[in-house]
Symmetry: C2
Subunit: 348 residues, 2 copies
């Protein structure tokens, strides 16, 4: 079961050096010898001890994935797609969920990765310069998904442009009172703060470009969940000037928005247009217009770039910046003519 090189060497009548070379397909062994060694190894079910080769080579054959949250849809998607690429390349996947700041500090402080991984994938977590330095000091190549990381090869979406596109869609439909529901960082959360902020910027850009003033009460932030979305929408319903359309920074929040609107008897898209962000697998079911940002591709591409960093020494590729794409479904439409809204909006 757990035989050693020595056993194979003895049976094959060669030295352990030769066994080692034969089994790893490195040059320096005659074809014949190699074949014989490999056959014997297979026969006795020999599989090299990882611990041994790790100690000897310094390489671990594992990649660490760091993520703030495993239970959200987004992370399942990127984890699955990145994991597939890594496994395909023969790497083990080591998973680190750093949900709160304490876990995050512990993770980055203790050089916890020395001897554990050959590289690090950071998902949706904006690493600080110090954190990146820590990893660099451990000689760990890094690839970052969803936020900017100078030095590390990264993949992300142009969230600002995506946000602007989403709002333009609403503007082009004729909406003039468009609200924004954004993701509020929990105080203790380690979630990357960049994409949410960029989406808000995109929203403001689009409104400004269309010549609309910024309306304070039209920008609300809540926790990134359906319940958060519900709460945010409820607040918008209490606005002095309620919007006719809302851009929601995540589909999960948008689901909550739809629920609140339904409960309030407000028709979508007749009385209120809603556009989400993610193209969550349930968005289709709920007929939600949304921005698709190639979630699976983000995961696989981040992994691919890390592997390139590890196996070649070509240096980091420039960041890959993806463009999100509008998916039109049934939750957006032109606003109802004012006539139809008179009773609801006293300012008509």
């Amino acid at each position: 079961m757990s035989s050693t090189v020595d056993a194979v060497a003895e049976l094959a009548g060669v030295s352990v050096s030769t066994v080692s070379r034969a089994l790893r397909n490195v040059p320096g062994v005659s074809l014949e010898t190699r074949k014989r060694v490999q056959d014997i190894a297979r026969d006795i079910g020999y599989v090299p001890s990882l611990a041994g080769s790790r100690l000897a080579t310094g390489r671990t054959g594992a990649i660490a994935i760091v993520t703030p949250n495993l239970s959200k849809w987004f992370f399942g998607q990127v984890l699955a797609s990145a994991g597939r690429v890594l496994r395909e390349a023969g790497f083990d996947v080591l998973l680190y969920e750093v949900a709160d700041t304490r876990a995050r500090e512990r993770f980055f402080a203790g050089s916890s990765l020395t001897g554990r991984a050959d590289g690090v994938l950071i998902f949706a977590l904006q690493p600080t310069p110090e954190e990146l330095a820590t990893l660099a000091a451990q000689n760990l190549p890094v690839s970052v998904l969803g936020s900017e990381a100078p030095g590390g090869s990264g993949v992300r979406v142009d969230d600002q442009t995506a946000g602007r596109a989403a709002v333009r869609h609403l503007l082009n439909l004729g909406h003039e009172r468009i609200a924004f529901i954004g993701i509020r960082q929990a105080a203790d959360s380690t979630l990357g703060g960049v994409p949410p902020a960029s989406r808000l910027r995109g929203y403001r850009d689009a409104l400004a470009e269309a010549g609309f003033d910024r309306v304070q009460e039209h920008e609300v932030h809540e926790e990134n969940s359906a319940n958060g979305g519900s709460a945010a929408m409820a607040r918008l319903l209490c606005a002095e000037v309620p919007p006719t359309a809302v851009f929601v920074a995540s589909d999960e929040m948008a689901f909550g928005v739809l629920r609140t609107l339904k409960a309030a008897g407000i028709e979508v898209p007749g009385d209120m247009s809603v556009i989400g962000f993610d193209n969550h697998e349930l968005a289709e079911i709920l007929d939600l217009t949304t921005m698709d940002h190639s979630v699976a591709l983000q995961g696989s591409e981040t992994a691919r770039r890390l592997l390139a960093l590890i196996t070649s020494d070509a240096g980091a590729e420039p960041d890959l910046v993806l463009t999100a794409q509008l998916i039109v479904r049934g939750s957006t439409a032109p606003p109802r003519p004012l006539r139809g809204r008179q009773t609801a909006t006293p300012l008509a």
Copy 2:
């Protein structure tokens, strides 16, 4: 950065043996020496090489989690809760997604875990006796979630009882024509087949106990997704005798069911009661009555049991069988009096 025991030993003026003992908090070192060694280690930022200690001890400090699917809600939940327990105990988490039979064979065949993990968590994947034997031969303790595994300490839900409970709820509301939408195994899928089958059995039990005959066309199976649920419901709508209520074996499928019903203009729960299974985080938003089966608890408890198996030698605890619980929401109600359904059901 990556100093060795020797460096610490030299600075502390003691032997490496003492350093090793001092740092691991094993007895046999004076308090004073221990303190001094620890201080020095901290000062120079020494962190023991994993590869070294793995080779010396044979322990890896890692747990492997095997799962058929990372992108489904259920797996994110159990992964997150199990991972938390493992990390808390100081173990690394190694992730293996074995999506198809080929990956599954490769995983179990190649004794891929030797030297990689101290134990294995198997999620929602019914291991064959041979597969369990393979792991046992590698001396790997196993804990199984969601299916029966003789020998391995396991956690699962009594799906048959849960299915019966769900259907009884419908029966007690007065329904007499109740359909079942189950999970169809993709040909190549490695998903555990036990829970789905048990839920069907529970459905049949409840109907039989209530004195109803089994209706072939009321049992349909589709892929476990919202789209699968949509398709299944569509088929039920073509039944010779359409049901007035349906028990759906997963919430994700139930979401699709709700969509189809809405599209068809069939009111829920007025014309059709729907009960799901999972208590998916979006079930609340969609006002779906469902069976909660303590998903997070399943994950953490499976992990806890594996740790017990590893750290104590008390042997496997008996399986933990959880009871699912009905969560009543707005998608179930008594059937409409026949009068109200006459046009829809010609057999009235």
